[in-house]
C-alpha cells in the first residue's frame, strides 16, 4: 500500500510537471516536482520509499524525455540513497532540513547530468548552467519543497505512514 501511494504520488507529480506546471515557469525555469517529492519521501520515510519514488519518477521521465533510457532512474536512485543517508543527521521537524536536502539533491542531480552528458560527448557552458539553470531551479525547488514537506508531514501522519524517526540513521 505504501509503495502504491508513493508511486501514484510520483505519477501524479509527473503528469502535473509535464502539463499544468508548464504554464508557471518562472524566468523560464520550472520547479522540479519529481526531485522535490523524492526528497520529501526520502527524508520523511527514508530508504525504501525514497527508492520507490526514485524508480517511479525516474522510469516515467526516461520513457518520455530522456536521451537514453535509464539516466533519470540512475540519477534519482543516487539522490534517494544520498538524501536518505544524509537526512539521518538532521532534525526531521526543522524547517531547514528540507531546504538543505533539496539544495543538495538539485546540485547532485545536475552534477550527475553534467558527468553523464560530458561522457556522451555533449558540450555545455558550465557557468551558464549554474547561473541559468541550477541556481533558479534550486531557489524554486527550495520554496516548493519546504511547503510540500510540511503538508506531506501532516498527510503522511494522518494516513498512518510512520516517519523513520528523528536522528535516525536507518
Amino acid at each position: 500500500m505504501k509503495y502504491a501511494i508513493t508511486s501514484l504520488t510520483m505519477f501524479a507529480g509527473f503528469i502535473l510537471q509535464t502539463t499544468l506546471l508548464q504554464h508557471i515557469r518562472i524566468f523560464g525555469v520550472l520547479p522540479n516536482l519529481a526531485i522535490v517529492l523524492l526528497v520529501v519521501f526520502s527524508v520523511r520515510l527514508k530508504m525504501p520509499m525514497g527508492i520507490c519514488a526514485a524508480v517511479a519518477g525516474g522510469l516515467l521521465q526516461d520513457i518520455f524525455f530522456s536521451p537514453a533510457f535509464g539516466i533519470y532512474t540512475l540519477i534519482y536512485l543516487t539522490v534517494a540513497f544520498s538524501v536518505s543517508a544524509l537526512s539521518g543527521n538532521f532534525f526531521e521537524e526543522s524547517s531547514a532540513t528540507p531546504i538543505v536536502m533539496i539544495a543538495f539533491a538539485t546540485i547532485c542531480q545536475y552534477f550527475m547530468m553534467i558527468v553523464i552528458y560530458y561522457f556522451a560527448g555533449m558540450q555545455f557552458d558550465l557557468s551558464a548552467i549554474f547561473l541559468r539553470m541550477v541556481l533558479p531551479e534550486l531557489l524554486i525547488n527550495a520554496i516548493l519543497c519546504w511547503a510540500l514537506y510540511k503538508i506531506f508531514g501532516r498527510i503522511l501522519g494522518k494516513i498512518g505512514f510512520e516517519s523513520a524517526g528523528r536522528w535516525s540513521n536507518e
Binding site: 502539463t19 504554464h23 521521465q61 518520455f64 536521451p67 537514453a68 535509464g70 556522451a120 555545455f124 557552458d125
Partner: protein, 278 residues
Amino acid sequence: MNEFKKKKIMAGIAILLLLFLIVATFGGGGEISPIENFAGKNIALLQRGFTVGADFFGNIFNPVANVWRLDKINKELEIENQELRRKLIAATLSQKEMKDLSEMEKALNYAEMKGYDYLTCDVVSKDPGTWFNMFIINKGTSDGVYQEQAVINGDGLIGIVYEAGKDWAKVVSIIDNRSSVSFKLLDEKNFSIGIVEGGTERGLSGYLFDPKAEVYAGQEIITSGLGIYPEGLLIGTVSDVIIEKNELLKRIKVEQVVDFKTINRVMVLLPPEEVEGR
C-alpha cells in the same frame, strides 16, 4: 551473507544494468520499444487531457495576469507578423533562386512546392526539466510520423522528430542542447550559410562558414537544406554578431521566431515519398 551485503550487491547490479541501458539507448533508436510504446500511449492520453485543461485555464488567466501587455493587440500583431514573414520569405526566395515558390499554400506556404504534406498534431506534454527542450505529440508511426521529420508551425521551424512510437512521438526543439541546424541568410544578395545550435543560453547561437560574409542584427535566417531539415524554413532573427579575431568564423546569436513556451499545435512535414505511400 548478511542483509547489508545483499543490499550492496543488489544496488551494484541495478547501477550496472542502468549504465548498460544508458549506453545501449543513447541518441534514440528511431522507434520506441513496445514497453515504452504501451506506457506512452496510455499516459499520453491522460497528459493530453491535462494539457487541454491547462491551456483552457491558461488562456483565461494569462491575459488577466498580463493585462499591461495588451494581450489582444499582441495576438493580432503576431498574426499580421506571421503573414508578413511568409510574404517576405516568398518574395526574397523568388528573387534569388526559387522563382517557382509563388504557389506556396500550406505551412509557411512551403510544403506543397517541395512535395511535402503536413500532419497537424497536438502537443501532449512538455519536458519537465530545464536542461533539454523536448515535447510529446499525439501522432506516431501509424500516422506516418518517423524519426528525423521536420516539425514546424505558422511562425517557423520548431524541431525534429527524435523517436516515434505507434501513436505518439518525441520532438526535440531547435533550442535543445542536442540541436544543430544548417542555415542561410535570408537576403537577396547574400546567401551565406552556417550552423546554429541550441544550448544552455537563451536563444540560439552559431557561426557562418564565411568569415567575410556580411551579417547584421535583424537579418532573418532560414534552413539551408543541407542536413536533415528541408530548405526554406524560417528559424529566427540575428540578434547579435560577434567577431573574434582569434577565430576564423563569424559568430552570431539568433532569437528564434517560435515561442516554445506557448506551442500547443504543430505540423510534421511528411516527405514526398511518405505522401505518395499513403
